[in-house]
């Protein structure tokens, strides 16, 4: 069993290697010395009580924290071995897509929503864009619902459809990684189920890192799970292991619902 695990580990490529990551909002430290490897073509779930720094950590991976004025980062975030602080953030974000907690479609047609990212990179070819729209919407399991009304405003869709539109929009960039920050917390159970299935189907082609408050969700969809507590990364393990035999006592208390 153990040998099997290590074998799998070796065959899996590290896509993000985080080394001694400390993050400060002004004087307040939000992340303490985080060290972790994230693997390619895996779903990694980030769990932990509210305010423990999951979103903050996630936003480091595509440098969205750059947008916050007094946010300071120490340590290294290696993406394919290069420090993300040294790459062009625009280039990084085309490779590392993001889906937010609240669905945030742009106030334009479904078609234009999907084409937004590629167009910003200068893609103009009409047939290419058409293909891209169909491919992304199919991947996001939204195509059948909207194929007859691609010209309607993206904001006129239901919440669950909007979230899948946002996923499709991110997929249209052909990213390697998809960061998802509680993508289902604003949705009803059926939409949630759809998105969970979607995540599982996407992991063949993409690496997915997902923040969730729903432990069952993490158990259902994630290969690896990381537990955060008060800005510390307490434990990262295979999901099964973390939920059945957590190696840290704090993790155990959290997953058995005794605090947080």
């Amino acid at each position: 069993m153990d040998s099997l695990k290590s074998e799998q580990n070796e065959s899996m490529q590290t896509i993000f290697a985080i080394r001694h990551l400390n993050l400060y909002y002004g004087k307040k430290q939000a992340l303490h010395d985080i060290n972790v490897d994230l693997y390619e073509h895996c779903v990694t779930a980030l769990i932990g009580p509210s305010g423990c720094g999951k979103s903050t950590f996630l936003r480091c991976l595509n440098r969205m924290n750059d947008l916050i004025d007094d946010c300071k980062i120490d340590g290294q975030i290696l993406y394919h071995g290069t420090d993300v602080q040294s790459v062009n953030p625009i280039l990084l974000r085309t490779k590392v897509g993001m889906v937010f907690q609240q669905p945030n479609p742009f106030p334009m047609s479904i078609y234009d929503n999907i084409c937004y990212g590629p167009r910003c990179q200068g893609v103009r070819n009409r047939t290419h864009l058409n293909e891209l729209v169909e491919r992304s919407l199919r991947e996001a399991a939204l195509w059948d619902e909207v194929k007859d009304r691609l010209k309607t405003n993206g904001m006129a869709l239901s919440g669950g459809q909007q979230q899948r539109l946002c996923i499709a929009r991110a997929l249209a960039m052909s990213p390697e990684v998809l960061l998802m920050d509680e993508p289902t917390s604003a949705l009803d159970p059926i939409s949630t189920k759809k998105i969970e299935e979607l995540v599982m189907s996407l992991k063949e082609r993409y690496t997915i890192i997902i923040v969730t408050h729903n432990l069952q969700q993490a158990a259902r969809i994630a290969d690896y799970t990381s537990f955060f507590l008060l800005g510390d990364l307490v434990e990262t393990n295979k999901t099964e292991t973390l939920f059945s035999r957590p190696s840290n006592e704090k993790t155990e208390r959290y997953i058995t619902g005794r605090f947080g």
Partner: protein, 330 residues
């Protein structure tokens, strides 16, 4: 409402009441103002028509000139104010944005005479120099362009401050969504922020256009006063509804045709502002909603179509009834 009623009653009077006046050449005139010439004429106070007994006051050119002046103003004002608003709201560092905002608010409180004086003292000479350099036939610099520039200066504070409010209201999530897709700041500002704020920005433009259409003092100071004609030439002087209303108002005798016809012009001005507002509001509503309502104009058209169809079908019914009764009789 009282003012509105008053203006309408007084404005209609010249067309129904007979005025007895001595003309400049000493002859005696008596009659009403010509309604058709009022709309179609391109010369204000043309002459008295002794055959039809009508005073010929035309404001057709005034309406068109007002619209042209406003068009020029919009062309100048909209890009400048929208770009400035974008800069204040999204690009400038906070302290600078604050300073600019209060500066803009200060500007919008300046009365129009001051703009007029500024226009006469600064803009007109500048335009004169420019026109000379270009070889345009403008002797004085008093011109359509001067008017448009002065109006632009007057309306941009309003448009800017409304647009800034609209842009400040753009959700952070939308901007983050755009940036997370690898869009640059500039792309996000133009493609997302402007788009999300467009109906608010349009509301600012409506306010600005309302102010520009109604402005008289500053325009009469920098636009000159040609007697007739429509002009598109930015270097030529022009005369609008508002400036004509003000022109030599001190010499007009209350109760005379020359005096009362100004109320008619005022009535038309109100109508013009009202119509512009309806149309612009319509466009704004069309912009703002996810499922925009059809244009007001289109709705009116629909109602009229329905009404006509109803009238036709009722006619048809009564005709058939009539026919049936006739046949019965036979």
């Amino acid at each position: 409402m009282v003012v509105l009623g008053f203006i309408i009653v007084r404005g209609l009077k010249p067309f129904f009441h007979s005025y007895r006046e001595t003309l400049a050449d000493g002859s005696l005139a008596e009659g009403t103002a010509s309604f058709s010439y009022f709309w179609s004429g391109i010369r204000y106070n043309n002459r008295f028509d002794f055959e039809t007994h009508h005073y010929l006051y035309g404001i057709g050119h005034l309406i068109v000139n007002s619209l042209i002046l406003n068009l020029y103003t919009i062309i100048l004002a909209v890009p400048t104010s929208v770009l400035t608003a974008l800069f204040i709201s999204k690009i400038a560092p906070k302290p600078l944005a604050l300073i600019l905002k209060s500066g803009v608010d200060l500007l919008s409180a300046i009365p129009s005479v001051i703009f007029g004086v500024f226009g006469m003292g600064v803009i007109v000479p500048l335009i004169r120099a420019w026109a000379r350099a270009w070889g345009a036939k403008s002797a004085s610099g008093v011109s359509l362009l001067s008017g448009a520039i002065v109006l632009t200066l007057m309306v941009i504070p309003t448009v800017i401050s409304v647009s800034v409010t609209a842009l400040d209201g753009v959700h952070k999530e939308q901007m983050e969504g755009s940036l997370a897709l690898g869009a640059s700041r500039t792309q996000t500002n133009f493609k997302i922020c402007l788009r999300a704020a467009k109906s608010g920005i349009f509301a600012g433009i409506i306010l600005g256009v309302g102010r520009a259409l109604g402005e008289a003092t500053a325009i009469s100071m920098v636009c000159g006063s040609p007697i007739q004609g429509i002009t598109w030439n930015p270097f030529a002087p022009t005369v609008t509804l508002t400036s004509e209303m003000l022109l030599a108002i001190g010499e007009a005798v209350p109760g005379s045709m020359n005096y009362d016809i100004r109320f008619s012009a005022g009535m038309v001005l109100m109508l013009l502002i009202l119509m512009t507002n309806v149309i612009l509001n319509d466009v704004k509503n069309h912009l703002s909603e996810v499922n925009p309502p059809p244009f007001f104009i289109a709705r009116i058209g629909k109602v009229m179509k329905k009404g006509t169809l109803a009238v036709i079908s009722s006619f048809r019914k009564s005709w058939q009834k009539h026919k049936a009764e006739k046949e019965k009789k036979q």
